[in-house]
Symmetry: C2
Subunit: 159 residues, 2 copies
């Protein structure tokens, strides 16, 4: 990465915060470790269910705390309908919450799961990698894309 | 990039096709050249207005040809309302068209432009880079993210 690229980082003043919605505790641990290895200074908030996710987002917005800039959502939570309900729940909150990009992470590579997730408004669909090294590579790519290339929405309470 | 990563490329069997909606002809040329330099085998379809974009998408779907897997949309087309109208036009077509991820590229780094674009359903918002080298770097990041990490929706007529 060139110095000029680092200088132009559109989100360089933000402390990254990612909300991870994942009911598999092994995957929670892998994701947390991979994020720590790929993102310096990121805060990963981990929850296991839709109600926990919605409570966290609502309370964060209500108390004026920083909302996460990105949401990672496991689709099979434990059924895909649970993941889609969670996605709809997030998208139908206040604009401040609904505009946060949601990335679905799933073991499923079924075309129907991918297509329906895009129809419901996910920013991206990523099939879960097979091993820890690949998880770290995935999060490095996510970091380079979402924090160093893309401009994320600015929440009033983000900084 | 490791060989194992290339093997797991979720979209390796697809010929990339990107629709670029850009009314600035200088930027069209830069984008076309940067895409050619970053993506081997990609087909970039360039149009300048919303009606051209909608016609292209509708005709491609109607004739059973491959739809683009990604859409790059200039926001100020020439006004931002034109870009948002175009985004709404794409999102309200058939599900096959509406599910294609749309990335807004714009000279504007205004918070309102970014936030409203996410509210209207863009997959990402990217501020246009300053020089050609940075454009090439941007498209390399886009390629690594969208073609080598993310699973894109499968259209019936995509292959």
């Amino acid at each position: 990465m060139s110095i000029s690229r680092l200088k132009s980082n559109p989100n360089q003043n933000r402390n990254p915060r990612i909300l991870v919605i994942e009911d598999n505790l092994d995957h929670q641990l892998i994701i947390e470790n991979a994020i720590q290895q790929s993102f310096v200074g990121v805060e990963a908030v981990l929850v296991a269910t839709e109600p926990e996710a919605i409570d966290y987002l609502d309370n964060t917005a209500l108390t004026g705390n920083r909302l996460p800039q990105l949401i990672l959502l496991d689709l099979y939570l434990p059924d895909r309908e649970d993941g889609w309900n969670c996605l709809n729940g997030i998208k139908s909150r206040s604009p401040e919450i609904g505009q946060i990009p949601v990335i679905v992470f799933s073991n499923s590579a079924y075309s129907e799961d991918i297509t329906e997730s895009y129809n419901l408004g996910v920013a991206s669909y990523v099939v879960k990698p097979a091993d820890f090294t690949e998880w770290v590579e995935y999060f490095q790519t996510l970091k380079e894309y979402w924090w160093e290339t893309v401009s994320l929405p600015s929440h009033k309470s983000m900084y």
